[in-house]
Amino acid sequence: MINTEKSVITEIEYLGMSGWEKFRYNFVSFFKRLPVTFLRFFTVTIPALALRFWRAFLGIFRKIGIAAKNGDWKTRLSFVIMGFGQFTRGQVMRGLFYLLFEVLFILFMVFFGAGQLALFGGPGYTETTEAGWVIGPDGSEIYVQSAVGDNSLLVLLYGILTIFFIIAFVYAWYSNVKAAYFAQEMKEAGQRLPDARDDLHAFADSQYHKTLLAIPLLGLVIFTIFPIVFMVFIAFTNYDMEHMPPAHLFSWVGFENFRAVFGGSLSGGTQFGVVFGKILLWTVIWAFFATFSNYLLGMVVAIMINKKGIKLKKLWRTVLIMTVAVPQFVSLLLMSQMLGDYGIVNSLLQKWGLTSAPIHFLTDSMGAKVTIIVVNMWIGIPYTMLMVSGILMNIPADLYESARIDGASAIRQYFKITLPYVLHVTTPYLISNFVGNLNNFGVIYLLTGGAPVMTAVGTGGAGETDLLITWLYKLIMDKKLYGVASVISILMFLITGIISLVTYNRSASVKNEEDFM
């Protein structure tokens, strides 16, 4: 890990650092490592993963080959009639389930899936036509009946569902072959095969994870994986305002949308890539300030409240927790109203003669950015305060005791004991919080809605305070630019995904080192 650094330090040097230095070292090296890790991700991680998948793939084929070579006629018949092997060897329930699944799959493919897959591949579907008079090929006017064509959205949806179903079938088929061969081997070795009751019992014990995870994982596939696959496909279509099914269908356009994001322009004017870069920059700046302002100030507040000799600790804590207890959208909407150009804050300031014109808390580019970060502090500091309070109580009291005997001042104790301890323990939280802030929709959308709008033309309605995620929301809700929005979300996924992978590895290594003190 450490050796990838330019400024290489040895393990011993690292262990010799104080907690604070270690944190700084980790912090700096994290940002230094980002580009390197980015490259490594494509040159090392992905090929390694691909290799592993390839090996697993080969392993599957080897197992099927062995089953085909050594299997008796019952096992071999299971290749075609799923569950046959189990059925004839006394595992009736298992066999029935396999057979049922095969029958269902064949029926599904014959009556539905195959047709959908054929449509899925290309623009083979028919457009919807409206009733009316058109000029026929011979020049005369002919009346056309309205006809409902294939909705390309549904074609895409059903197509992906069919692919998912096929994958599930292939897996079931493989497990059927494996189980049939296993049953044969067991029989040959003269061992008893598990019957239906054994199987049921296994689902409460040795196979309990399957019972527990079946429903959660089904939800994950339907509500997370499927939508992601769907959006990845959308990125390669021209789905936008002019191609809204069912009236106007969309079709495959290859890498057209990627070109639009990186170099092309959007309805003339400003380059799309420039807007993307601008918003990405603000997103990163926002995430940085939002995370660290909350973190550092929250820690200071926690230390003040927990200081020995401060009374009414519970009261201060309760007051601050108000922003955690009240639903966040209420606080945010309230703040956006109070800080508006004609809101209570501006009216009071003007009434008291402190300002003559309203301060543009939320309508000026720079002002809005500062306001957002400050309001976010108001919302976020209590979370850090709660967390750090808990950690402060866990710091061993004898550390302070011995420091005091050695004559360390309070400030010295803070920098040498408190701060390093808290930093060390909360580094994982800090980093996951940073990633979370990259996608913080609520604060921006409910406070400013991304306003003020960028002045250049062709920005896709982007505002100065828009994060990538709120910009996406606008691209979809207002502009209906589904294709381009999908490309942007794929890019966002890559950026946040890689950042979190790096941090995950790093925090895992930090966690394992147990190096405090």
């Binding site: 959205l153 409460a204 014990d205 309990y208 994870h209 527990l212 995870l213 429903i215 959660p216 994982l217 939800g219 994950l220 997370t224 499927f226 939508p227 992601i228 959006m231 003040m304 200081k307 000799g309 401060i310 201060w316 007051v319 927790i321 108000m322 639903p327 959208f329 209420v330 309230l334 703040m335 109203q337 004609y342 809101g343 009216s347 009071l348 009434k351 108001w378 209590p382 979370y383 709660l386 967390m387 309070s389 808990g390 323990v425 909360t426 939280y429 996608n439 929709f441 609520g442 959308y445 990538l468 929301y473 979300s489 996924f493 946040t496 995904g497 979190s500 995950y504 895992a508 966690k511």
Partner: protein, 304 residues
């Protein structure tokens, strides 16, 4: 020596004084907006904004109008119906969604956490990595795809409660971190002792782990219940602009949009009243269960 001690004490006292001042200022900053919210909900004067903090006329009319779907027209000053703006409907829908989500999500999170914490199977590590990576995908993008899926199943518009519940609990197994962290701290020897006595893993989960997990169960319930109240993105998407199918977050945001503020002179006051009605039960619940929340937040952050 005595003098030095006294001066040290003086320093201590002045530091504490400074801290008290800072804490008082912070408390004011934190409380003023909420006090303002309550005051505005009781304000009798019309208009979205005033240039004074305390209302001149105190009234409960804003609450009454909120519950009876009435509003004061800005042009005529008369009390008129606000049409499909039905706060009680939004509130009822959100409450129903929150309760269902709480029940289902708590079960899913507990079950997933137990499987990942205590059971060992081949796909465990890959599964955890997969969930970590999937969590990075901008949730909103998958929401459009989910919208089409729900439309296909007929779960938008008047069935949108079911649709929203499904979407909210659909990927809730990805939020297993904190709960798993808690299960990890329960000594393994307890499981092993029970296993030696012949208990299955199923029995271990229900008879040993769950009874020891009261704090984390309450934490899970609390966070699961609070989340649907503030959910804006998907609720607005699935309602497709039809106010009958909104939840409180979408409804309340619309009440302070320009169209509403210019159409009704009491829109902002009703918004404040609605905010109080929405926040009060949640806030009380939160303060009652605060201890468990703090335990969850602290524990979760430390274990990552």
């Amino acid at each position: 020596m005595a003098k030095k001690l006294r001066s040290k004490k003086a320093v201590e006292r002045s530091t504490n004084a400074v801290i008290y001042v800072i804490l008082v200022v912070i408390s004011i900053i934190w409380l003023v907006p909420f006090v303002f919210l309550v005051l505005q909900s009781l304000r009798g004067e019309p208009g979205a904004t005033t240039n004074y903090f305390f209302p001149k006329q105190w009234t409960f009319d804003n609450y009454i109008r909120l519950f009876t779907n009435m509003g004061v027209s800005a042009s005529t000053g008369e009390v008129v119906s606000t049409g499909s703006y039905n706060f009680m409907n939004w509130y009822g829908r959100t409450l129903l969604i929150a309760v269902c989500v709480t029940v289902i999500q708590t079960m899913i999170v507990l079950v997933t956490s137990y499987a990942l914490s205590r059971l060992r199977f081949r796909m465990r590590k890959p599964l955890m990595n997969l969930m970590l990576i999937l969590g990075m995908f901008p949730g909103f993008m998958s929401m459009t795809a989910m919208y089409f899926l729900l439309q296909l199943l007929g779960l938008t518009q008047n069935m949108s409660i079911v649709g929203l519940i499904l979407v909210y609990v659909g990927s809730s197994c990805m939020g297993y971190y904190i709960c798993k962290g808690f299960f990890d701290t329960i000594p393994k020897s307890l499981d092993e002792a029970a296993r030696i006595d012949g208990a299955s893993r199923h029995t271990v989960f229900f008879k040993i782990i769950l009874p020891l997990s009261k704090p984390i169960i309450i934490y899970t319930i609390l966070t699961a219940f609070m989340a649907p109240w503030g959910e804006y993105m998907f609720a607005s998407l699935i309602a497709n602009g039809n106010a009958d199918y909104w939840n409180v977050a979408v409804g309340l945001r619309d009440m302070v949009q320009r169209e509403q503020l210019t159409a009704y002179s009491d829109s902002f006051q009703r918004f404040c009243a609605a905010a109080v009605v929405v926040s009060l039960p949640i806030t009380i619940l939160f303060f009652l269960l605060q201890r468990y929340y703090v335990e969850g937040v602290t524990g979760g952050s430390v274990k990552g």
